[in-house]
Structures are given as structure tokens and as C-alpha cells.
């Protein structure tokens, strides 16, 4: 890797960079504030890492994880964490983030853990808060840097939650010093699916702790909004994003698109819509 691009995320719009766009991005070097990739796709190192290292020479990179399982009750996967550390050493990312979710439980029948490849919800209890905070502490200590923790899109909630997700994230941030990655589409999905009050959620988050926004599209199955990252950002999510800009402020903003991935121009067009809103908000508060 040559001289890397800056090691902080600019307050501009970026895109989730996926394999179909590696070549075009490296060839054309389009104007993008920054890019985000999924950690796990690069844990193998070797040739698969080369496009990312080339991209890193031109854009700030954020590493976004989907496999840590911060709320899992199976032990923290030290091999996973070590792989992330190695990737951070090589890539020198501007940010490292994970989801507020679980993906594995102890499995006594095979004397190990049972892993489910998904981002799963859990009850927001004091016990869970203590558990997740301890694991976030462990991750941050191992990484030697602040972790961004993302709110979850969910299709079920629990009757015995003792607080909202927003309150949980706020308390988690206060206890551990972690930052919050606020995914606006996830919040909208939860508002529609579970009746979460989106504006109250936004007002609950400690603005200083929010370090990044995510925007994405969703799909609908049998009345359930599913966070598929397969479409453009909908009008309601843009409205919530504008509300968030007013209440939280300008933050680096990412467009995620993970299935039915369009041509780069469309993805970039979505990022330009976010950039326009960032600039309008910036101009309005000058």
C-alpha cells in the first residue's frame, strides 16, 4: 500500500464498497468521501486483500463487522477478534464498527457454540447491558481503539426489555466510551415493525457519541419490513435522516447496498443525495 488516504472519516457521504465495484472504483477513482467494507470478507488476507489495500491508498476506509456477536452468550470469538486486529494493522481504518446483536450461544451438546449467521435481537435488560458492556470493553482493549456500535434492524422484540434500544445504546456508550453508528433505515424498519417511536429514539441518543450514519433501502415481506439493503433509500428514511441532522448534527454518512447491487452510478447517486443534505444542513447552521 502506498501513502494511505486520511485516517479519519470526513463529514461527507461514502458508499459501502462491494466486490462488483472494486475494478471500476480503482480505475475511475470517482469522487467519494470514503468507503466502508465488511471486515470478514478480508480476514483470509492474501489476494482478496489487495483491492482493499489499493482502495485504501485513495479513500479513507471504515471496517464494518457483521460477525462479532457483541451480545452473544457464547464466549467472545478470540480468533475473530485477532483477525480483526490484524486487518486493522494492515488497513489502518478510519473507523471500526459492529452491530448491537448476537449470533451465537453455548451449545452443550457439542461442547462448543452454536452460531447463526445473522444479526439477532435480544431483550434490553440491565443484565444484557452489563454483559454487552463487558464485551465491548474487551473488544476496545484488544483493538486499542474506540468501537462504533450500530443499532439493529429487528423483526421481533421482547416483553421483558427494561429499556428502549436508544436508552441501551446511550448507556452502553456512557459505560464503555464506545461510539454509536446510527443506522437510520434500521430505525425506520423498527418503527414500522415494532412501533418504535423514531423521533424519540433520535432524541434519546447522546449526540456527541454518534459518530456515523448509515442509510439503506429495505424490502417488505408479508407486512414485515426486512433490512435487505436491496433498494434505494425511501422518502421516509430521508426525512428521518434530515431530522437526525437537526438533532444530532453532521456526521459521516454511508449508503449501504448489499443485494441486487446496482451499477456504481446509481450507488454514487444515492451518496450524492446524502451529500446534498449534509451540505444543505451545513449551510443552514452557518
Amino acid at each position: 500500500m502506498g501513502k494511505p488516504a486520511s485516517d479519519y472519516l470526513p463529514c461527507t457521504a461514502g458508499i459501502g464498497l462491494r466486490a462488483p465495484h472494486y475494478c471500476e472504483v480503482l480505475e475511475k477513482l470517482p469522487k467519494l468521501g470514503w468507503v466502508e467494507v465488511h471486515n470478514e470478507n478480508f480476514f483470509g488476507g492474501g489476494e482478496s486483500l489487495q483491492p482493499l489495500l489499493k482502495v485504501r491508498g485513495h479513500y479513507p476506509v471504515s471496517l464494518h463487522g457483521v460477525g462479532m456477536g457483541l451480545a452473544s452468550t457464547a464466549p467472545l470469538d478470540q480468533a475473530h477478534l485477532s483477525a480483526l486486529c490484524r486487518l486493522c494493522d494492515v488497513v489502518q481504518p478510519a473507523a471500526v464498527s459492529e452491530h448491537l446483536c448476537w449470533n451465537s450461544v453455548p451449545d452443550m451438546t457439542i461442547n462448543g457454540s452454536m452460531a447463526i449467521n445473522d444479526l439477532l435481537p435480544f431483550p434490553y435488560t440491565q443484565e444484557a447491558l452489563f454483559h454487552v458492556a463487558r464485551r465491548v470493553d474487551q473488544v476496545q482493549e484488544k483493538l486499542g481503539r474506540r468501537l462504533l456500535v450500530e443499532n439493529l434492524s429487528s423483526y421481533l422484540s421482547f416483553t421483558h426489555s427494561e429499556m428502549s434500544e436508544g436508552e441501551f445504546l446511550s448507556e452502553l456508550s456512557q459505560r464503555t466510551g464506545c461510539a454509536i453508528l446510527f443506522d437510520v433505515n434500521n430505525l425506520y424498519v423498527n418503527a414500522r415493525n415494532l412501533g418504535v417511536d423514531a423521533k424519540v429514539f433520535i432524541q434519546t441518543l447522546p449526540a456527541k457519541a454518534v459518530a456515523e450514519y448509515h442509510l439503506a433501502g429495505h424490502s417488505i415481506r408479508d407486512g414485515c419490513l426486512v433490512d435487505t439493503h436491496s433498494t434505494q433509500v425511501c422518502a421516509e428514511v430521508w426525512e428521518l435522516y434530515e431530522f437526525a441532522l437537526q438533532h444530532i448534527g453532521l456526521r459521516p454518512t454511508l449508503i449501504e447496498w448489499d443485494s441486487d447491487i446496482p451499477v456504481l452510478a446509481i450507488l454514487k447517486g444515492e451518496a450524492e443525495k446524502a451529500q446534498q443534505r449534509l451540505e444543505e444542513y451545513h449551510a443552514s447552521v452557518k
Binding site: I110, G112, N117, E127, A128, H131, C224
Partner: protein, 74 residues
Amino acid sequence: MLLLNDDLSDFARAIVRGEEPSSRIDTSYQNYSVAIAIEVYRNNYCGNLYDTVITLGKALLRSVTSAGIFGVSD
């Protein structure tokens, strides 16, 4: 063991078996069934292939080692 573990284990079994969890699921707002939500989780796209491959690989390795083919057991 954490009380949380009871909820997560129940949820995990539900997803693996395609059954409704016995955990205390709040259905007061949602306008779809718990069964549909579980089906979404069973089919959901997670955003990367890596963990699927690793999970399958680990499961395969466990079954091979427990069968004693490599002369070790876990």
C-alpha cells in the same frame, strides 16, 4: 449462566428448527406473525458469505474430528 442465555438459546433453537420461540415475544404492535419473523431470520441476507463458509467449515471439522478421522476429538 446469564438469564439472557435462556432467551438467546430459545431463539436460536427456534431459528434452526423453524419454530416459534417460547421466549416472551412482544406481539402487541407487529402486524405479522412471529412465524413470519422467524422465517425472515431463517432466510435473511447477512451481507457476507464469509461467516457462512466458516460456520459450515467448523461444523464439518467438528464432525470429522468427533468421528476420529484425524485421531483427535473435541
